[in-house]
């Protein structure tokens, strides 16, 4: 145990934790949106994330011809690459999420299949996507090239905030609040909330259930894709298994915050990102997951609806 590092490296750990936390937040939104509407854990969300990371990688390497030894881009070209990578990642994840809903869940739902059937279908889809990418990539992880020069935007007493971390934190905030506003302030958002409260009553009110559910998967996929872009920018790597670890962490964050609850996903993601960083520093990286998950179990024992579940219940999707 080394608690002195928590003081001497507090700000670097805080910044790293925030950047990681925002990635968790956006992937958690993908889980929590679907759960809120269907009461179903979309296990394929981790692979939807993984496909987004590959979209970013492919755009930067195949379209913009970047490799590990390329010099980072600047100015207009950098802006163009970032926008193209982000859009490609979001569209890939969004479209795949819609297809997953269409192929893996809709028929089961319309035929009144049990939740267990949908659960198996979700796990099956997740494995099929992951294994498909594994075969295509020969199981070899890829390093995403450094498109963005990682300089410190500002530095105080040797502690700096890097541009990629700032980008991840800002983009995470913007995307999260955009989704939150959409769900809480628009007609389509109201439809999503209505379906999450009662499918039967929503149908009686004339809401097109299929359309709302597809929309929910699309939004969840889009923000998950945004997280995938941030992941590539921050960690510069991906692999067929990239979604697994992030997926487990984001799902944990969603449960920690109160699954089905948008703002709970935010608090859960941030708490988990920060906890991982500080616990790793204090106890050693090998203890990180043990401690984080023990804390999760403890919190759920005390608050079964999650850490912030009841406090923000009214914002449930």
């Amino acid at each position: 145990m080394n608690f002195s590092v928590l003081i001497s490296q507090f700000f670097p750990l805080l910044i790293n934790g925030l950047a990681l936390g925002f990635i968790y937040v956006l992937v958690s939104v993908g889980y929590t949106m679907v759960y809120g509407v269907l009461r179903l854990i979309n296990f394929a969300n981790s692979e939807i994330f993984m496909l987004g990371t590959f979209a970013t990688y492919l755009v930067s390497t195949r379209i913009f011809k970047f490799d590990q030894n390329s010099h980072p881009a600047h100015g207009g070209k950098l802006f163009l690459i970032i926008i193209c990578c982000l859009v490609a990642s979001m569209l890939t994840s969004g479209v795949v999420a819609m297809f997953v809903e269409l192929i893996a869940y809709r028929r089961l739902r319309t035929k009144g299949a049990s939740r267990l059937g949908s659960l198996i279908s979700a796990i099956g889809t997740s494995i099929a996507l992951s294994e498909g990418v594994r075969i295509l990539t020969h199981s070899i992880p890829v390093r995403a090239p450094r498109v963005l020069n990682k300089f410190n935007v500002f530095e105080i007493h040797g502690v700096g905030l890097r541009i990629d971390q700032l980008l991840t934190i800002l983009a995470g905030l913007i995307f999260f609040f955009a989704v939150d506003r959409f769900v809480n302030k628009t007609r389509l958002g109201a439809a999503i909330r209505a379906v999450s409260m009662s499918e039967e009553n929503s149908r009686l009110m004339g809401i097109n259930l299929n359309r709302v559910i597809t929309l929910t998967f699309l939004i969840g996929g889009l923000v998950t894709g945004a997280a995938a872009f941030m992941y590539d920018t921050t960690y510069e790597q991906t692999a067929y298994y990239a979604g697994f670890n992030i997926g487990i962490a984001a799902f944990t964050a969603a449960v920690l915050g109160g699954i089905g609850n948008l703002r709970g996903a935010f608090y859960g993601g941030m708490a988990l990102g920060l906890a991982e960083q500080f616990f790793s520093a204090a106890f050693g990286a090998q203890w990180k997951e043990i401690i984080v998950f023990l804390v999760l179990v403890l919190i759920l024992l005390l608050r079964p609806n999650g850490l912030f579940g009841e406090a923000v219940q009214q914002t449930r999707v």
């Binding site: 080394n2 002195s4 590092v5 490296q9 590990q68 199981s139 390093r143 520093a281 090998q286």
Partner: protein, 387 residues
């Protein structure tokens, strides 16, 4: 004994002789063709290590087949992805394949150790070009591979002190941070460096264990910076070595970065990028094939693999030597598993440089093996002498 019984016994005797002759003929026919197996990661994060070693195996087999031998040797490959759970399945498949009389592999200690059960049960001999964890051949370890395991590289008991010496070379007041990947290889190598580091007067300012395939190394990098270390030694494979190096550079760490033979692969430079990988110190038991093999063998290497040179490919020499040990046994008529085991355990073999070697009772090279020092420079891993 009545007539009927005599006739019956006669028929049984004739049938037995006929079956015996048939089996013997078949055994002789089988002896004209045998199979060697190669087990290593051929896909996955550590695929570079296995693919490099396969070059040495192919070269040795190419040379053997050029001599028009009486006994043909086939090669089957198994991809263990350097993962224990996959390796045990691959090993089981080879052990159950009666055509296989010997195995070359695996490259990595964890995968090798996980395969011992299947190979011991199948009485199948294995020679690893690069599994270096010390206890694989330790008489005291219950997890050793005795009597079927052998290897043609120096153990980590030799590499550990060498890595300690090379990583702190020319560093004044070395303050060392040790990080391992929690694999049998990485976790096994780490404690073998500490006695030498202490002898050299280096202070160990911190240690961490970061499991293989971790995504985020930033908290570890922060700890390294906070410790004031000027030497970081990573014990693991190149995929994660590259991730840690990138994280250290982003955290503005300016000291020496060193690693063992798990990082001796060009994949390390590909993953970390030329700029980030520059200056990394690597120790490896790999003997550079391009500097050791005679010109004729280097020509055969090109003919067998289509590559101009073995430069940048690790453990080609050891894979070549391991395969040749089997081929020397097969030439001498050893075509069954027990015959191969007996020949490998007691025979004397010639390596690519023409030197003689044989194995100890527990499977190490009796004559010892060197540990080389390498430096990443201008996008290449360059040998700079012995560590």
């Amino acid at each position: 004994m009545n007539k009927t019984t005599k006739k019956l016994l006669g028929v049984v005797a004739v049938a037995t002789l006929a079956i015996g002759a048939f089996v013997a003929t078949n055994a002789q026919a089988a002896a004209t063709q045998v199979t060697l197996a190669f087990q290593s990661p051929l896909t996955g994060g550590e695929a570079g290590l296995g693919q490099d070693e396969l070059l040495g195996v192919k070269t040795a087999l190419y040379e053997y087949n050029q001599t028009n031998p009486k006994i043909k040797v086939n090669l089957v490959t198994g991809d263990d992805q350097a993962t224990a759970s996959i390796a045990s399945g691959v090993a089981l498949g080879f052990a159950q394949n009666s055509a296989v009389i010997g195995v070359i592999g695996s490259c990595c200690s964890g995968a090798t150790q996980a395969s011992f059960g299947a190979y011991k049960a199948g009485h199948l001999t294995i020679i690893s070009p690069s599994a270096t964890r010390a206890d694989l051949t330790s008489p005291k370890a219950s997890t050793n591979g005795f009597p079927f395991f052998h290897r043609v590289a120096a153990t980590d008991a030799v590499q550990g002190p060498a890595l300690a010496r090379y990583s702190t070379k020319d560093v004044s007041s070395p303050k060392v941070y040790l990080i391992d990947d929690a694999t049998p290889y990485g976790a096994g190598l780490k404690p073998l460096t500490t006695p030498t580091l202490k002898t050299l007067g280096a202070s160990i300012v911190g240690q961490d264990t970061v499991p293989q395939h971790t995504i985020d190394y930033s908290s570890t990098a922060s700890k390294v910076v906070a410790s004031g270390a000027n030497v970081v030694i990573y014990f693991g494979y190149y995929e994660d070595a590259a991730k840690l190096k990138v994280a250290l550079d982003l955290a503005k760490y300016k000291g020496v970065y060193a690693s063992g033979d798990g990082t001796d692969d060009l994949g390390y430079i590909t993953d970390a990028g030329t700029a980030d990988a520059e200056g990394t110190r690597i120790t490896s038991q790999s003997v550079p094939f391009e500097l050791t093999a005679p010109a004729a063998v280097q020509k055969d290497f090109t003919a067998a693999t289509g590559l101009k040179s073995a430069a940048g490919h690790a453990y080609v020499t050891q894979a070549y030597n391991a395969t040749n040990a089997y081929l020397q046994c097969i030439k001498g008529g050893a075509t069954t598993r027990p015959a191969i085991q007996s020949c490998i355990a007691s025979g004397t073999f010639t390596d690519v440089a023409g030197n003689k070697f044989n194995f100890t009772r527990y499977g190490d090279i009796a004559q010892g093996a060197p540990v080389g020092a390498y430096l990443v420079k201008n996008g290449d891993i360059i040998p700079v002498g012995n560590a």
